[in-house]
């Protein structure tokens, strides 16, 4: 009996070792660039590190206390939450486009799919520069508005419109990516479910509500989690299009973190902002996990 078990154990150990060896390069990268970075960010957030000097004095929760009394942080947090609040709009639009692309009514599907997906492959900086031109006081959008007799707006210089304009631009950029994921999700829904629903007398809306949406549960969860995480990471477009202005109306958490860490040399404080972003994303993801029931497969 023992003689039989030994080779089995040996083989298992060998297999495990092989697995770990294959995992090692990835784990090394993960530990170095992610785990270490996350742990050190937590520590740095409790120091007065200025980035220029290596000295890091431990100051406990001082940065967090200051953070919650910092009105610029409040503005950045509020604006970031607006970006997050716009995520469902992007999701709904992407789903709508995916449904249209999936239907048999649309012709030239490949052309449209390419069109919707093109912004995804364009760098955010280039995309933002293009849209800065479109939103300009004498840009394309205003020319169209003027042509149809509507008043022109300085979209990025207007206190009310600057943030919605930046959000809209980001949403349009993300449509194609989400559309492709939804399309993939739609194609995994078994056709017999629709046939059964049809036999039961379900109309299109009922089919969408009771078959399509539940069938896309996992896709929706994945897209919404990544989109919400993305909404907390918004930076490039702000840096290029508005610099956080006018009057901080488009300042978001990451642009404020950048300002504090790299321009104002308050790296400890910037790390505290980073930790807050991490916590927000974590909480949002946990809430989503609770809201979307798991375990049901179609």
């Amino acid at each position: 009996m023992e003689a039989r078990q030994r080779p089995l154990l040996k083989r298992r150990t060998k297999e495990a070792l092989t697995c770990y060896l294959f995992l090692a390069p990835n784990m090394a990268l993960f530990v170095t660039f992610f785990l270490y970075a996350i742990v050190s960010a937590f520590y740095n957030s409790m120091t007065d590190w200025d980035f220029i000097n290596p000295t890091k004095n431990f100051i406990g929760l001082q940065n967090y206390i200051e953070l919650f009394g910092d009105r610029y942080f409040h503005i950045a947090m509020k604006n970031t939450l607006w970006v997050t609040a716009a995520v469902p709009i992007g999701l709904a639009l992407s789903l709508g486009i995916a449904l249209i692309m999936n239907s048999k009514l649309v012709k030239f599907k490949t052309l449209f799919r390419t069109g919707f997906y093109t912004p995804v492959v364009i760098s955010m900086v280039v995309w933002a520069l293009i849209w800065r031109g479109i939103y300009s006081i004498d840009g394309l959008l205003n020319e169209v508005l003027a042509f149809v007799g509507l008043p022109v707006v300085d979209w990025l210089g207007n206190l009310k419109f600057a943030l919605p304009a930046v959000i809209a631009m980001g949403t349009i950029k993300g449509l194609g990516y989400n559309m492709v994921l939804f399309l993939a999700g739609l194609q995994t829904i078994p056709p017999h479910l629709y046939e059964a629903a049809e036999i039961d007398g379900a109309n299109s809306w009922q089919q969408f509500w009771h078959v399509t949406l539940p069938g896309l549960q996992h896709t929706t969860f994945f897209i919404s989690v990544t989109a919400i995480i993305g909404s907390f990471q918004v930076f490039d477009q702000i840096y290029v299009m508005t610099g956080g202005g006018p009057l901080g109306r488009t300042e978001v958490l990451v642009s404020y973190l950048y300002y504090k860490g790299f321009l104002s040399w308050e790296m400890g404080y910037a790390n505290a902002i980073g930790v807050v972003i991490f916590m927000c994303v974590l909480i949002m993801t946990l809430i989503q996990r609770k809201l979307i029931p798991s375990g049901t497969e179609y």
């Binding site: 000097n53 022109v152 210089g157 206190l159 009057l247 790299f262």
Partner: protein
């Protein structure tokens, strides 16, 4: 056989190590990082300045790295944070004090004061390079004076004398209104006076001259410990700048992403502007056939005349392994007159901080004469490390008034409170 191979390997490694250490002992390397240099200036460094210096100092190697204005600070900061700063670095004039405050820069007082070039520098240039302890922490390498640039053709079209730029605020407002044009949507298509927006710094550089011309200051210039942005002279200066936009409507307010000023000038989109000399260089470069349309003067005044003078300084890292060589290199760069004059011109028609360079500089670019002659009216940032924060908060207050969220009095009163609160945190004992 194996033993022999091992012995051979050991001998080889030891010889390589010895060779490396001998070569390291023989060669001293200094690293020089300069921002804003174009291809011509880079070639000048690589083909003339550095070979010339290395010839004079055998065994010394100079590693030159051109940086852009955009990546200068992030590169320098990262190098400093990594404990490996360049020996010589370029810093914006107001920023040098911030770096000095963090203990990054070498105290140059002794070097500068014992240098025979010391008296050749314009006296005022030392204000920005001297910290609160009276230590000279950086050396001005080029000055960037904001000039009053105007379009003579548009003056003529509006029936104004193209050789008589505005002298007072009243002239400025009146001329600007005469030359402003709008489209059917009331958008400004030709700005009478273009404020140099772009970001908060651009906003401030546009508005600060009006404040100074009216006798206002950002801080109490005796102690530098108290904000004076709420004083009547300051408020009135801001009010005039805001009136240009909101009352006289001579320009659209653009808080970010200002179009290229050179292109705007060439397209005839503005009649008057206060901007840096780089714009002049570009107009001369891109539209040589339109040079006769360019007018250059000192910005208009009120109680006094004033304009903004910034520029770039050279700093030497305290962590430099060869500070004496770094200082030698600086001397070489300044002493060989033609280098600095040419560098200043290539960077963007910047002015030399040395009085003796004026003649050569003006000979090469006659348009700079008016700028040299008006350098005495130049003002810059406050000599405290927090000067950027002071200005950023003030710019925010100015923007609030532009958007009509509050009056200049209210916004600047709050800004003064915030600045004073911020300055209270400053460890003044350390600085004095």
């Amino acid at each position: 056989m194996k033993k022999h191979s091992l012995a051979l390997f050991v001998v080889l490694m030891v010889s390589m190590l010895l060779a490396a250490s001998v070569s390291a002992a023989e060669t001293a390397k200094i690293r020089v990082w300069i921002r804003g240099v174009n291809d011509v200036a880079t070639r000048m460094f690589e083909e003339e300045v550095i070979p010339g210096f290395e010839k004079l100092h055998p065994g010394v190697e100079v590693e030159f790295r051109p940086l852009t204005f955009a990546n200068n600070y992030i590169e320098i900061d990262t190098a400093i944070a990594a404990g490996n700063p360049p020996d010589i670095m370029t810093l914006g004039r107001p920023s040098a004090l911030k770096y000095a405050d963090k203990g990054v820069l070498l105290d140059l007082t002794e070097f500068v004061k014992s240098w025979d070039r010391y008296d050749d520098f314009y006296e005022f240039t030392w204000t920005d390079s001297t910290d609160m302890n009276g230590r000279i922490v950086s050396l001005p390498v080029w000055l960037d004076e904001n000039a009053f640039i105007y379009n003579k053709r548009l003056f003529e079209e509006a029936g104004l004398d193209p050789n008589a730029p505005p002298e007072t605020w009243e002239d400025l407002a009146s001329y600007a209104q005469k030359m402003t044009k709008y489209d059917a949507q009331k958008r400004v298509t030709q700005a009478g006076f273009k404020l140099n927006w772009g970001d908060w710094m651009g906003l401030l550089q546009s508005v600060a001259p009006f404040v100074w011309q009216n006798g206002g200051t950002f801080l109490d210039e005796k102690t530098w410990k108290t904000a004076t942005v709420d004083q009547p002279e300051f408020v009135e200066g801001v009010q005039f700048a805001v009136d240009l936009l909101n009352k006289y409507k001579v320009d659209n307010y653009k808080p970010w992403g200002e179009a290229n000023a050179t292109q705007s000038w060439i397209k005839g989109q503005f009649a008057m502007q206060v901007n840096n000399t780089g714009v002049l260089r570009d107009i001369y470069g891109f539209a040589p056939d339109r040079i006769h349309e360019v007018g250059v003067a000192l910005p208009p005044g009120r109680k006094t005349r004033a304009t903004f003078v910034g520029g770039t300084d050279l700093g030497v890292a305290k962590a430099s392994k060869h500070p004496e060589l770094a200082l030698e290199f600086i001397k070489y760069l300044y002493t060989t007159d033609s280098y600095l004059v040419r560098l200043d011109q290539e960077i963007g028609w910047q002015l030399s901080p040395l009085k003796s360079h004026k003649e050569a500089s003006v000979k090469a670019l006659p348009v700079t004469e008016v700028l040299y002659d008006t350098l005495e009216y130049g003002k810059s940032f406050e000599p405290i490390p927090e000067n950027m924060d002071v200005r950023k908060r003030t710019a925010e207050a100015i923007e609030e008034t532009i958007y009509g969220l509050s009056t200049p009095e209210q916004a600047l009163k709050q800004a003064a409170k915030d600045i004073n609160k911020m300055l209270q945190k400053t460890d003044w004992t350390k600085k004095f």
